[in-house]
Symmetry: D2
């Protein structure tokens, strides 16, 4: 078995300055299982980051591991380009049966380069091809990736890197609620597109995330989203929904757009679609929009067969009925309750997001940073989102156990309390004897969690 | 063990029209080992495509399989974003020791999204950031990927899809030899960049493949390449070498630029860098060019730890000394000899490329297509490259056995002969008794191959 | 003396389909003086179009004619490129003394190609050069010209011609009032620019017309304009004010921004700056923004000396004190009053604009077209503006006589009444004996006008 | 009569740094007639710049002056937008009769904004509209103006100002002879456009000047130009010829493309089209390419009626037969002979251009600058062209008298001799008694000129 020493000097010496997360979480991770991470010295963290949403089923799901090992042992293909292969066939069958069919979707599956940004690139190119137009409506705080096509649609100025006029073809529009509750930004878009002199060119597509993962957990309401879909239809534009972070059950339903009552033309999936953290991405294409010519958009790693193997397990294991969704909803309720308790400790703080994609807006990135650093010291890996990284984002595996969820939330609560210098709520005052205080879950939280999640286990 | 039925209807029904290779190679592949592919019915093909260059060490290398299974069994991380992880550390150490150090390179390693196009996107953004310029010189028939930044630099009109002004920032220049042997296109570039009124904006970078993989196996000579490097330096532009297809030993040396006597500022690697066909890409950055800010260019799957595990095995197994390179050279000689024999059978045909990245220009894509279809029927997976897909490209695993190499070349030779309606050379006249003619290696070829490759085995 | 026959066939045969105004005003104009136009058959029209705002002092001002003839007779230069010439010197001196100095402006004068669009092109290039940024904020319904740089900032979709991604570098923002009275679009801009994740790149400039001439006479309020100026300053962007149509006294003050309490970095002037309808344009540049290198932005006709001659007369004759401005204000009051009377005749109609740049929004372009055609038949040349050409725009010479103003307004009123099929207001019921009804001014209007304008004559 | 004092301080104080020519020619010009310029102090210069080619018939042609004064006196329109007016009608008739018809052209006339760059903008937009493509092939050292659309096609880096990706839609190609006599750049273009993988998008247009005015007097041969026209036709691209500087007789024929045997789709004219130096421009459009919608491309000063008046005189006076062209040819021969004499005085110097658009390449911009400054001191206004301003460009009025032409060339010859420190050729050794040496024509040159031009007077 491979052993790793904890010395980190090679990263300073040899890895590019582009590295990011490792600066905050500065240790050598060597093992992970379920919702827990371990470093080379055996130290443990609860994982509230979940591979940035690529580990919705946790680390090293035993069934997926077994299937993947079996695939390797029987010399299944690893890379398959876009050849027909067994695992791809099986994935397609299961995905069609358990994901598409029950939701009334007849979309075709396009396997793109195995990252979210590649799927978005494919979507934008297809929308432009189908419509013969160039303009794409994208939204404030939208995040769609960092390759140039997707980056043009991404709001984050840090990632945009001042590439300026090299990022053409996008008209930015305010997301729902951007200007506060009194301003309907869908009406605004309708007015702009109806006005032949507004200067907004007829769009090839409207691209959005129903819940903005990196942008700060802003979420679209059912009414707004339907208005957007109507606007797209009325103007002959394709509706592209980016489900890269919010999809695969993150908000409870498989797709985050499901409860919003729309049917997108194109749907981008990545991150958790493989179920195991393996690189994979796909674009769902409404059949009449599938106007690709053979190999027009290509790429070597479109056929990551290891990912297809684990993805098939994930679909079969978690999505044959709605019990998994119910479990997400129950955990989400717990998260809401605990975040509300924390919000009460931070002046002006408030909750954002939905499902297991919720967070706490603490007012500033500096404060969030202090809380997150303290949480890491106490055994919790968790990150922030939003324009200034001011939203502490709870992104747990969707099947996290009641105990770990409660423990993680308790650590976060303590980190908030300690950073703010405020007392913990009463219920958390008595640590359970014999366990170290740092990772001590609040007693009531644990009890509540166990009760809540009993049937979802 | 997972069994797959050979029915292909699900692909027609559910996979996007964007699929390509599977149309030519229309069967269900289920197993692969070394240089052989097998379908659901047990039919065998020799693999002269090698995952489009992502399988330089063949399918399912036993040592890599073992290491990967061990990693999974000990619950190593799958996705690691850009966290410090054990496999990443080990890869960095081995890559620095066995690849960079012996070649006098002190570049830093940037892990990008796990596809070649993502590495190119990172390179272009960095070059533009470092120089404050926007223009990039790219070459006729260059191929760098299909996300919008990389696509702007890609020559292929089919892939460019008429996206037009959405692909800004690139000045196209003729590659070496584009206008025939009498025209030095490096001198042309020098003249254009020295002329303040040429209309060519000062470049941020010059981007090229030393051997153009998709563009038709056009190769840069040492003199031309050094001129290009001097021009880049003289004008303050970064030299970016795309080693996505030609790197990792494909031409014999680890990097295809090694024999050309240049030191690029940025080097993109992908395809075979994981050794096993797993999605992975990286950008090598000269330290003084490493002006990234933390997480400025990011992406979830930058840390494919499964790929790091196999990549480490690949480096350690194949690149500790030059014996592997010698083996490539020996196989390459054999390929040259056999392709020359085939060239003699096709009026006007000639050889292109170098190392195990050689091909036969047969004059038209239509002819190549007929030959390739016949080869596939006879048990050989092989593809074409070039503007019209008129160059039959031999892209075997670099460690293909003498017997399989000879057998594959023999199939190809027969396909050429049958398509052209010309007799085989004499040495191939007598099939070995007891084996089906279709996959019958030419006797002399086998003998020659065995002799040639004896010491490289 | 040159005689012209009224046959128009040569235009159909030989002039491009791009011609526009002549389709509505389909006769051969041969003479013009003051506020009147005459065709080859001697028919007369009152001119409420005024060369689209390029004839603020009317046609063939006698003093300008005399000065121009003298210039020609003494063999003064016609074209002077950017040489120092006498007329240019004199214009500079008078413009500095009578226009810039009294308004506390110390801007430098850049002579650009002699059209408004060329001045805007120069402004955008300079702003981008000074700031090193690429993005320019421009507004819905803004109109800045049709060359590609200016066109990118122009809202009109018809003029944008689907040139798409060839019009880069502009972020469109809603002008004041675009979303109705309750929505402050300056606050919106402030929020977007303060948000590092809004996707709006830091601007090189904010470009706007204080009164949108072609866009439908939308006007910026003092408070909104000051907010915009503050936002520009706060973000290091240049404030560019397009005074091409609204400047040179059109709204009463020389610059339309004067009453709004801002000092733009760059100010574009054209149309009436020559005073006589001769092609001329200039860009006023705040001295610290004057970072041009010699001849960096050039053009042969920057030095139209005939225009400088008449421009000097215009400045000296009309702008030595504020009597001219007062006359504009008095005429504007009359226009307001009469347009209000017309508004009462058209369901839903309302007034727009200010000064002698007012109009009547009649609800649809189709209705406006019918009114305008009828007005033309009755002896009035007048046009519409707005996204659908639904705003009838009164753009008289600024020194139009009381009688002609009243007569023109009366024709317009009748055209409205006849088109709508409603009776004229009572005061217009009795035509003056002996004059044809069509061009009969409303008696009360004439009386009112004479009284109102007595001191401004 | 207006008097101007020679003090220049107002220009330093108030004119933008963008001013250029006036820095070299630093005096106050107040009068001009024919081929002579005079400053406020009565000093005289011979004009070898001719308004940068906008004064092909010299300053203040008496017939044009008379016609213009008459037009003003009879209150003809100045600005006419695109209304039908008498002078426009007359110009159209004469231009069709004397210019288009004799050359077999049935193009329609589009009046654009009155500068060359505006005509080019219109041409590019129309070509993109007609073809539905975006790419335009433009050439090294091409000069088409400085508004953003035209600037994208302009080679000069100084004028391009690093606007970078804001100048999209142009592929640069080497002009004829750019890589020396052995390299056929038309063949190169053919190869690039025939290659689907060259990376050059199918063009909407090919845009070029048959003689590059600002780019250094590079000229296209008949064979090369015809190849370019064939390539355009073969690929469905429009051929746009920029005749802004080379047209209106500058090279002898009315259009510089006439002797080259091609029929462009679009032809841009400006500069000397008004004949008098007044701002005017037009685009000739092959009827089947005239796909403009009404007012799609507009602009206030498209109808500069003063310019139409003088343009009509110019056509009628100079282009009813070929005597004017013959006069140009005779003067051009003289210029050639004298420039050859000068070339013999400057090591490495050689002649460029044709007609009265010839120049002397003296090897460096620094040397040219010294010669030009000396020439100005001695009474000659003349400029340089080329990438480094290293080509001294003789751009006289086309009807310059024999005496002035000889005198100007003599001044230039002396300036060359004095700058290089070499003796004048023998024939110029004896100044004529009683005249100041500075403006002393070489005796033989004058005699030769008188003889040569006797019949052309």
């Amino acid at each position: 078995m491979q052993q790793y020493r904890s010395d980190l000097s090679i990263f300073q010496e040899r890895e590019s300055e582009a590295r990011g997360y490792c600066r905050r979480f500065d240790t050598l991770f060597t093992r992970a299982v379920g919702s827990e991470l371990f470093d080379a010295d055996g130290r443990r963290w609860i994982d509230f980051l979940a591979g940035c949403g690529s580990l919705n089923y946790g680390h090293n799901d035993a069934d997926m591991s077994a299937a993947l090992i079996a695939h390797i042992q029987q010399q299944g293909l690893a890379v398959g380009m876009d050849l027909h292969t067994g695992p791809k066939k099986r994935f397609l069958e299961l995905f069609a049966r358990h994901v598409l069919a029950p939701r009334g979707l007849n979309h075709r599956v396009m396997f793109t380069g195995p990252t979210g940004t590649n799927a978005i690139e494919a979507a934008l190119k297809l929308a432009r091809k189908v419509t013969g137009r160039h303009n794409v409506i994208a939204f404030t705080n939208g995040y769609h990736g960092v390759s140039m096509g997707a980056l043009a649609a991404t709001g984050n100025g840090y990632n945009r890197m001042g590439q300026g006029a090299l990022l053409p073809g996008v008209t930015r529009h305010p997301f729902e609620g951007y200007f506060g509750p009194g301003v309907d930004t869908a009406d605004m878009l309708a007015q702009l597109l109806d006005d032949p002199s507004s200067g907004i060119d007829k769009p090839a597509a409207i691209l959005l995330e129903p819940v903005q993962g990196e942008g700060g957990l802003n979420q679209a309401s059912r009414g707004w989203m339907q208005r957007i879909a109507q606007i797209a239809q009325r103007h002959g534009a394709l509706l592209i929904v980016d489900e890269v972070q919010a999809g695969c059950g993150r908000t409870g339903s498989f797709f985050s757009f499901e409860p919003l009552g729309v049917v997108p033309d194109l749907i981008a999936l990545s991150k958790s679609i493989s179920g195991y953290g393996l690189p994979m991405a796909l674009l769902l294409v409404r059949p009449d929009r599938d106007q690709w010519r053979p190999a027009e958009h290509n790429g070597t790693f479109r056929g990551n067969n290891h990912a297809f193997v684990t993805a098939a397990v994930a679909i079969e294991k978690y999505w044959q009925d709605d019990s998994f969704s119910q479990g997400v909803a129950q955990r989400a309720s717990l998260v809401t309750r605990e975040l509300q308790a924390m919000a009460a400790m931070v002046p002006g703080a408030y909750l954002k997001g939905r499902g297991l994609m919720q967070g706490l807006h603490v007012g500033s990135g500096a404060l969030a940073d202090r809380i997150l650093r303290r949480a890491f010291e106490r055994g919790l890996v968790i990150e922030a989102a939003g324009p200034e990284d001011e939203v502490i984002k709870v992104l747990t595996p969707l099947n996290i156990s009641a105990a770990l969820l409660a423990e993680g939330l308790s650590i976060l609560q303590r980190a908030v309390a300690e950073t703010l210098g405020v007392p913990l709520p009463v219920r958390a005052a008595q640590p359970v004897a014999g366990r170290p205080a740092a990772s001590q879950p609040a007693a009531t939280a644990v009890a509540a969690a166990h009760a809540d999640l009993a049937q979802a286990a």
